[in-house]
Symmetry: none
Amino acid sequence: MTSVPVAVTTGGGGSRWCPTPEQVMLLEGMYRGGLKTPTATQIQQITSRLSIYGKIQGKNVFYWFQNHKARDRQKLRKKLMALYHQHRLYPTTHHHPFLPLHPVGGIEDVSKCKPVMNNWKVDDLPSDQPCKLMCDCPLMTMMMMDHHGTTPYCTRVPPKTLQLFPLTTTDLKQDDAHHSTTSSKP
Amino acid sequence: MTSVPVAVTTGGGGSRWCPTPEQVMLLEGMYRGGLKTPTATQIQQITSRLSIYGKIQGKNVFYWFQNHKARDRQKLRKKLMALYHQHRLYPTTHHHPFLPLHPVGGIEDVSKCKPVMNNWKVDDLPSDQPCKLMCDCPLMTMMMMDHHGTTPYCTRVPPKTLQLFPLTTTDLKQDDAHHSTTSSKP
DNA sequence: GCAAATTAATGATTTATTCAAG
DNA sequence: CTTGAATAAATCATTAATTTGC
């Protein structure tokens, strides 16, 4: 598809590298494929390969990987920070800053949650107070929330006006404004 | 034709969740709205909301987002794969369309790299990035080798005509080692 | 037209990575 | 170097579409 070789002004001036879409795609692919810190040799090869799509130098590749990895970490760190701060809000344990105090008693089980999940015995979730622990883990914590079987409809959450859509930051903001990882757009 | 959109005949012992059209619509809406990995809190809310359209549990919502996101990526990956094939970049693989490039033993170079860097002359360094950055990186040895012409030191890798990417492990392996594979050193 | 058989979608599990902390 | 938490990839399994022969 006629990828327009968005060329950098290569020759003399030395403006900065402007990767073509193909180059970016390939780089991201390699990164996701597991290549986080390419060796010199690999950088060489990559550079050579990508050069057919446009001007590129080894340092560009090098920096790209550096930056990408760094930003990945940054993103993750942010998430952890948010999580940590939220958890600071309640009693500190002198063990781990967060986590397995008790209520789930099943974090371990989660790993072998396979058979468990189907007939999970949840003695009703704290209906008065949703377990704060769970609140932040998008993970499967909440799988245990609802009981499978008799209760046909999930009506555990009090029917107050909560809006789901993250489009407006009104309500959700309170709970977890931090969720978003800033969306890698598809 | 006229497929009756009934669904949800989950009456007795429905083995798996069967989302109603409304539920699917709403979920897709949220996803498109930017919600990719809802937190437990959000999942709760969503579940509660969607339960008015039919039986649903938190884990269903959780799984739905997991799967949707995963299959989104999958689709995208296929597209990229097509692109690669179009450019005949890389033989088909079942796993990652992008290189499963193995780390290889570039680590050896690292040890060499550090002393080298001390007296490395940076002619091609980005001006906004201090040398410090490079020092962090073990393997940038060759980064400057593609710098036009004046590369003083290691230019043993031919600037073109090298086959890249993990064609077979053979190449890469001996790559670092030594000798004459097309050593064209100007 | 209708079911049995086959294929495509998609819900649910399991396995492998990843980063950071101890 | 190991471990924990969380995730994404890969896989299994079941439901819905569809094809096909009668």
